[in-house]
Amino acid sequence: MSSTTILNNVEERHIEELDAVTIRFAGDSGDGMQLTGTQFTNTSAVLGNDVSTLPDFPAEIRAPAGSLPGVSGFQLNFSNHDIRTPGDEPHVLVAMNPAALKVNLPDLEKGGLLIVNTDAFNDNNLKKAGYATNPLEDDSLSGYRLFKIPITTANRAALRDVVQISSKEMDRCKNFWALGLMYWLYDRPLEPTMRWIEGKFKKNAEVAKANVTALKAGFAYADATELFTTHYRVKRAAIAPGKYRNITGNEATALGCIAAAVLAERPLFYASYPITPASDILHALSSYKNFGVKTFQAEDEIAAICAAIGASFAGQLGLTGTSGPGLALKSEALGLAVMTELPLVVINVQRGGPSTGLPTKTEQADLLQAMFGRNGECPVAVVAAASPADCFNMAIEAFRIATTHMIPVVYLTDGYLGNGAEPWLLPKIEELPRFEVKFYSDPTTFKAYSRNPETLARPWAVPGTPGLEHRIGGIEKQDITGNVSYDPENHMHMVLTRAKKVDLIANDIPELEIFGEPEGRVLVLGWGSTYGAITSAVEEMQSQGYSVSSAHLRYLNPFPKNLGEVLGRFDRVLVPELNLGQLALLLRAKYLIPAISFAKVKGKPFKISELTAKIKEVYED
């Protein structure tokens, strides 16, 4: 944010230009904060800003109203230039109750704008939030620009004579009132949200009217009360021309899987057991039935992966998706897919662990599980998406690799990517990677484990094909024939063959690209959802003249062919990860370099400032 001055001239409220703003909406889980945040995001995106979001919901579905665990937040960053993260410290905090204030205030930037709903600051709520005295009435908030607004009362007053609904229902609209206020403050149009409300409450005209009225009332309040001396404008960003839509990582993953099915001309079969934060993929795919997608809600994760393997054996694109604990359950069956050399994609939307861990918070600590979490020498291909929109590309890549190489692919995203959103430049369908999927059909030459010389992939021979009857299974197979074999030499040969199969994928994936100079003092190497923060931090350092570059791994097994060489061109390699250094460990082991791990395991993404501080430290060391 370039400027936060407010002019004291009450008469003339003027518009001030800002480069970027980070807002956090926070309230009780029943207050509709996710909706408010999403609406603000969409409106900003439609205005042409670049946007990035970070929803943060409680693990409890309905924690007691007003309690600290029940606080739900939604942070969004919108700007007039290219951004890649939801912002470090929010410039603005909208707190709908004392608990929301208590939980979120530590993150608000010093001098930041603080808007509170005074109506919610009653004795009961203050007590629930653990406040001994009312923070609105003592000096504790003097470091912020505090705006005390009786949102509940103002909202009721606006609705009372307009709609015929209970006061409880009226109160449910107060998030739109707050949104209206924020729309005034940041000079946004009301129309996109009004259109959304009318679509959403098509069947309940009174409720639609109430929400629209609340939205307008909040806007009018800000305009009429002269509460704010200034309002702000963030101009549209100079981003690549084209058609955009706002998309979350989970939506993009689901779309990518559908796209893969269309590109491969094979139906998709998605088997899953509900788990946060992966369930939205199941929800999305089960609504795309007209693409011929078969979705199967299995009795558990083991059944889900087994059904997906069965579907792959039968000739469909077998897909299963889960989060960390679910991947743990799937590991035995994943070994079966490796042994039977069938194509399969396993999505892991990582979350905080171990065990049930932090179900609604993000972490990228399943990398080693994806790499090694199985019995025996059991390599699979591993890919990871770098941003919400990138989930679309990597889902297609996962299927392309799985079918071309006849191998299971673990595709990693995480809670931050899955729930976070960004504008997505819609790709042209004809520019998506094509991949041909061919079934074997010639009985005269058929051998279940004969191999393509380039990929070592075996033929995909599906039941229903005359003359190709064969048996596969988890017991070691004789190469070429596929017969059961306990022969020691064959076993070693097959272990090496399966490893080689993964290595050969390196011929089929792009080389690692470097952001910045191809050599220098520090290379910051990341993978997964840390992309945005790392790139922004590195960009900032570069603009200050530091010899710092970054690179981002989307392919983790195998690594891109040029990785070793890239690593060798820098004095220091810094690896920021939301785990205790899992990629760093792999790099040290494979390339014998002293990769420096920068670990954060707090259920939260990196801040740009944390990264720049660490990069400086490593730089000067």
């Binding site: 042409g48 996109p192 706002n246 269309v262 079969f269 035995e332 229903g464 009857e469 299974g473």
Partner: protein, 350 residues
């Protein structure tokens, strides 16, 4: 092979060339202990396959882990030897992906009811048109002689030197509780009965659950001799036949009657009791109460029933899955990727 066999479990009617048992024998050497009951079951299934009217290439045998689960390797069809307990889940994926296939699940008592219990009941409740054949030898064979979920209370095994203290599960009761639409029991050495039962299971449209009493001559030899031996079976077993009264005994002089307190009772015919007092077996009963009561009949209190306990129709999972897809396509038109990607709020930057 009879050309016009009615279709049950997927699989199109075979072409004109008549296949024989030999066509279903794979080139793999069978590796069960000599004398194992599994041989008899394999032989009967290989024998009936050519008669079932399914194309060989449309036949898939899926198994878990255990001695019995080696079965698919010996069948010259498509086969998938999966992991312990998970065959029903893999079979679900195969059948749901391609309903044309005739899908068979071969499993053991440990495989199906212990590690795979969850998948078994869920595959059954979904009523996929698959055939589940459970080889029940009341022991873990492959792991060399531990007790299984069907082992008798008090039995001494390698892992229970002082006797089993788990109460056993009754596979048919489990299948009925999970609403299996076809439930039957047969015996490895009852050649004709086994063939007939397998054939009927295959023709049933919907899930078929067949328990086969199987001898493990190494770790549980003679487990069923008490009831199935030639000189015992007439008095200790009863064959269920649809529409016929529950009569048994060498002299056909005993039967099963329902007492007024809703308990089954063994009665002797004569002395005022005639076959009209006995229960008439109705495998088509819509509710499964009586089938469940029959599944509870155990020796020595009752003769052990074999045959078809239940055989009712209900839409199958794979058909409903296809129907749902078709009706959505009808309503919304076939999926269009371009349109889907461009849905939601979009905007153009120039």
């Amino acid at each position: 092979m009879s050309a016009n066999i009615e279709q049950g479990n997927g699989g199109n009617v075979a072409a004109t060339i008549k296949l024989t048992r030999k066509d279903y024998v794979s080139d793999q050497e069978v590796r069960w202990c000599p004398g194992c009951g599994d041989y008899a079951i394999l032989a009967q299934i290989q024998k009936v396959m050519p008669e079932l009217g399914i194309k060989r290439e449309n036949t898939v045998f899926v198994s878990g882990i255990g001695c019995s689960s080696r079965f698919p390797y010996y069948m010259n069809t498509y086969g998938f030897h999966t992991i312990h307990g998970r065959a029903p889940a893999v079979a679900t994926g195969i059948k749901a992906a391609n309903p044309e296939l005739s899908v068979w699940v071969i499993t053991g008592d440990g495989d199906a009811l212990s590690i795979g219990g969850n998948h078994l009941i869920h595959a059954i409740r979904r009523n996929l048109d698959i055939n589940i054949i459970l080889f029940n030898n009341r022991i873990y064979g492959l792991t060399k002689g531990q007790y299984s979920p069907t082992s008798e209370f008090g039995k001494r095994t390698k892992s229970t030197p002082y006797g089993v203290i788990d109460y056993p599960l009754n596979p048919l009761s489990v299948a009925l509780a999970a609403e299996s639409t076809f439930v039957a029991r047969s015996v490895d050495t009852f050649t004709a009965h086994l063939q007939d039962t397998v054939t009927r299971a295959m023709k049933h449209k919907g899930v078929s659950f067949v328990e086969v009493y199987q001898n493990c001559n190494i770790f549980n030899d003679g487990a069923y001799d008490m009831i199935k031996a030639n000189d015992a079976k007439d008095e200790r077993m009863i064959e269920l036949k649809h529409g016929e009264p529950l009569v048994f005994g060498k002299a056909r002089n005993k039967g099963i009657r329902m007492r007024s307190d809703m308990h089954l009772e063994v009665v002797e015919l004569g002395d005022g009791i005639s076959t009209s007092d006995l229960i008439t077996h109705n495998e088509k009963a819509t509710d499964s109460y009586l089938a469940y009561m029959l599944s509870r009949m155990e020796y020595p209190d009752y003769p052990v029933p074999i045959g078809v306990f239940r055989n009712v129709e209900k839409p199958t999972y794979e058909d409903m899955l296809e129907d749902q897809i078709n009706s959505v396509i009808e309503k919304m038109g076939p999926g269009n990727l371009e349109k889907l990607m461009h849905s939601g709020d979009t905007w153009v930057i120039e």
